[in-house]
Symmetry: C2
Subunit: 244 residues, 2 copies
């Protein structure tokens, strides 16, 4: 008779990784961490998504763990954070059967100056499309990054996600620019404004400020905790399916 049922079978190890996106220099970028070169660590010197083992003592749940990783690497406290999915199997980590829970985060470009908060040298931003073209990442992180980018681009077609990539307050032209950067194509000005304002997720940040000649109305998110879903996708005349 045992006090607990037999729990002595081998357990996979559990990690959490975070795909942290931001728009810097007019490009969609991802934060990566370089793996230690010496020691017995797998993929020495390779770049990887920030993440690591769940700490049973520190982390109340998976999301808390993701927030901890994010805080440690960027100093950012309250980003947009969404679960992306999980990847697990015998082959993805040479140390054994592992499963990782992946989150993706959107943070504002301005906040990156804080990046050097905790660590520093081994952290860097990478332009997403360049990374995807020549994937040399640790573990199965290239696959995970691809899934994250696809999810992001898909959701940008019909949600307000890009608003989380800008520091507040932001103007509608700035927001439009972010949409165009992430989507990789121009967006009609008039339709864009109609859509954003109709969706009711913005509130005027009173004053205006200048990013160009004429100042524009500043806006702020009504709710920083969740994105808004539009009734239809952005879709240039020709494209048959929106692609969600």
């Amino acid at each position: 008779m045992v006090s607990k049922p037999r729990m002595e079978f081998p357990r996979p190890f559990t990690t959490v990784d975070v795909v942290i996106f931001s728009v810097i220099d007019e490009q969609l970028q991802v934060l990566l961490v370089q793996r230690p070169k010496g020691g017995e660590e797998p993929f020495p010197g390779r770049w990887a998504l920030p993440g690591g083992f769940v700490n049973v003592a520190l982390d109340a749940d998976l999301e808390a763990c993701a927030r901890r990783k994010l805080r440690e690497k960027t100093g950012v406290e309250s980003p947009y954070l969404e679960q992306l999915g999980s990847w697990g199997g015998a082959a993805r980590d040479p140390r054994g059967w592992s499963a990782t829970h992946v989150y993706f985060a959107l943070i504002a470009g301005a906040q990156l100056t804080l990046t050097k908060g905790a660590n520093a040298a081994d952290v860097a931003w990478f332009e997403v499309d360049a990374l995807l073209a020549k994937p040399r990442m640790a573990f199965d992180h290239a696959e995970i990054l691809l899934a994250a980018v696809e999810r992001l681009r898909a959701k940008v077609e019909y949600t307000s996600l890009p608003a989380f990539l800008l520091p507040e307050p932001f103007t509608l032209p700035q927001l439009q620019r972010v949409y165009e950067i992430v989507l990789g194509r121009p967006v009609d000005k008039s339709g864009f404004r109609t859509r954003m304002l109709a969706a009711q997720f913005l509130e005027e940040a009173g004053a205006v400020e200048g990013d160009s000649r004429r100042p524009a109305m500043g806006y702020r998110l009504r709710d920083r905790d969740s994105a808004v879903v539009f009734p239809r996708t952005f879709s240039p005349r020709g494209s048959p399916l929106g692609g969600r």
Copy 2:
């Protein structure tokens, strides 16, 4: 010097659960398993999602594990299977820090007769809305079920998912009925047909058969591995947002 880096910290345990949906008796139902009553098992006698620990020896990866659980409980080999997300934390299982990877599956109503394939008495179908109204499930499975139902209902608005809930070949009126059952509201016949046929995911299963007075064209899925995404949601005139 150790051959491997220190991996001796406490690991959470890893499980996989599957939310198996089907339409039976004109209702959306979900398959649950009753937890053993004796022994030291948590939640004795409660109903739970089928699932359990990842078997490092048997399961190549998470999806394989999910398919194994599904096969063991239903005998179904190739359902529609999609990852739903993961839930993990210190509090969800009395035995300790645990993380579960959840999949959701759609199987055709006719296949359920095979249900008694492997196990039997401790497995049963439950009408989804009744379950959600009075959740008495083990672990955090009520929360997980809710998430699964929300995901399903949301995707039914703009994908061909309901086709996986019918045995082939099926007719368009039958398919429409499934949409109506899952969505909980009537759908216009004309628009429905236009949409389904325009989406190109069906192929005529030659002959016809009868479910009512007049026989109808039978259809089969062109691709049983993935669902099709429609450009817009079903949306009755009034509703402002589709809700994805």
